[in-house]
């Protein structure tokens, strides 16, 4: 399963629509705490994680996933403003498995998801910025 974590409802709808259209099993939640709840109960291959969210922010969520769910790969996402690129680099340094700078296309998203190593090998940097 792929878990989309983004506080923006439109973004969640878009990514869910894209990935379900590719026949992938997708769920989405609006914040880090909800994401961790899902991960506790559902095997999740990939987490698509927005870095800028109110409440439990992306970096904090990334740390928790890497600590408690090392079998899940994490692709971080960020916009161009407000030092988004720096945040993506920081997330990669913290163990994110891939990074996407918004806006991105469906092909870019699929490329990074399909190009990542299997969960057992998670931790490899596949999209250096």
């Amino acid at each position: 399963m792929i878990l989309v974590v983004d506080d923006d409802e439109g973004a969640r709808t878009t990514y869910e629509h894209w990935l379900k259209g590719e026949g992938l099993d997708v769920r989405s939640v609006e914040d880090g705490r909800a994401a961790l709840n899902v991960l506790e109960n559902t095997p999740t291959a990939t987490v698509l994680l927005d870095l800028f969210m109110p409440g439990m922010e992306g970096i904090e969520t990334l740390r928790a996933i890497k600590r408690d769910h090392p079998g899940s790969r994490v692709v971080v996402m960020s916009g161009l403003r407000y030092a988004g690129s720096d945040m993506l680099k920081a997330a990669m340094a913290l163990g994110a498995d891939g990074a996407l700078e918004k806006p991105f296309s469906l092909n870019q998203l699929l490329g990074i998801i399909h190009g990542m190593p299997l969960p057992a090998q998670a931790g490899a940097v596949v999209a250096p910025l």
Binding site: T13, W18, G79
Partner: protein, 204 residues
């Protein structure tokens, strides 16, 4: 877009200049290729952005106030790139603090030498209404750490009331007790996502 297309595009300059409203052409990645400079400069100057009246070297995706709006435009542009769209239009707001302003954005494919070469953006004002000053719109890009965050839709400028999950007009936000000492997170409200983005997603 080939070099010869660039030359051909120059021939469109008088046409772009003659149209009412703001008219510009981008490629499918949002890079500016040409624009009708007269109305562009007027609009930029009247809206406190005189720095945008110089040589135009902008990218529409990178000029968006937030990543969700940029993502929405990228989805629409990709539909033009791949031939799923030849024209598209939607309404949006472009207020000043003291002026409620409704715009219409029309996008049309530009074909040169039989090839899809870019997108013509034609943006014009449908209605302008004066209103009491809304400080929240004075500097919509301002975001500061440590302040409470509110969500504003980039298309309709409505603000989300988190507790009741309702999007309200900026004026109503103040009437509901909202203040201006906040950080604004821009995005797209569900209504505007359904109106602007979802129809394009469904083309795939």
């Amino acid at each position: 877009m080939t070099p010869s297309h660039g030359t051909r595009l120059q021939q469109y300059a008088p046409f772009l200049e003659a149209l009412d409203g703001i008219v510009y052409v981008t490629n499918f990645d949002g890079d500016f290729l040409a624009c009708g400079t007269r109305h562009w400069k007027e609009f930029a100057t009247n809206n406190g952005a005189p720095h945008l009246t110089g040589p135009i070297a902008l990218n529409t995706l990178r000029s968006c106030s937030d990543s969700e709006t940029a993502q929405a435009y990228a989805i629409i542009y990709d539909a033009f790139r791949t031939g799923k769209l030849d024209s598209y239009h939607f309404g949006l707001r472009c207020d000043t603090p003291s002026l409620k302003r409704e715009l219409r954005m029309s996008l049309t494919i530009l074909v040169l030498d039989g090839q899809r070469a870019g997108i013509i953006h034609h943006c014009f004002i449908l209605a302008e209404t004066e209103r009491p000053f809304v400080r929240l719109l004075e500097n919509p890009l301002a975001a500061e750490a440590g302040k409470s965050m509110i969500r504003m839709c980039s298309y309709c400028l409505r603000i989300k009331q988190e507790l009741v999950d309702v999007w309200i007009e900026p004026e109503a936000y103040y009437r509901a007790g909202g203040g201006s000492d906040v950080s604004i997170s821009h995005g797209i409200c569900p209504d505007c996502h359904n109106r602007v983005v979802a129809p394009v997603l469904r083309l795939n």
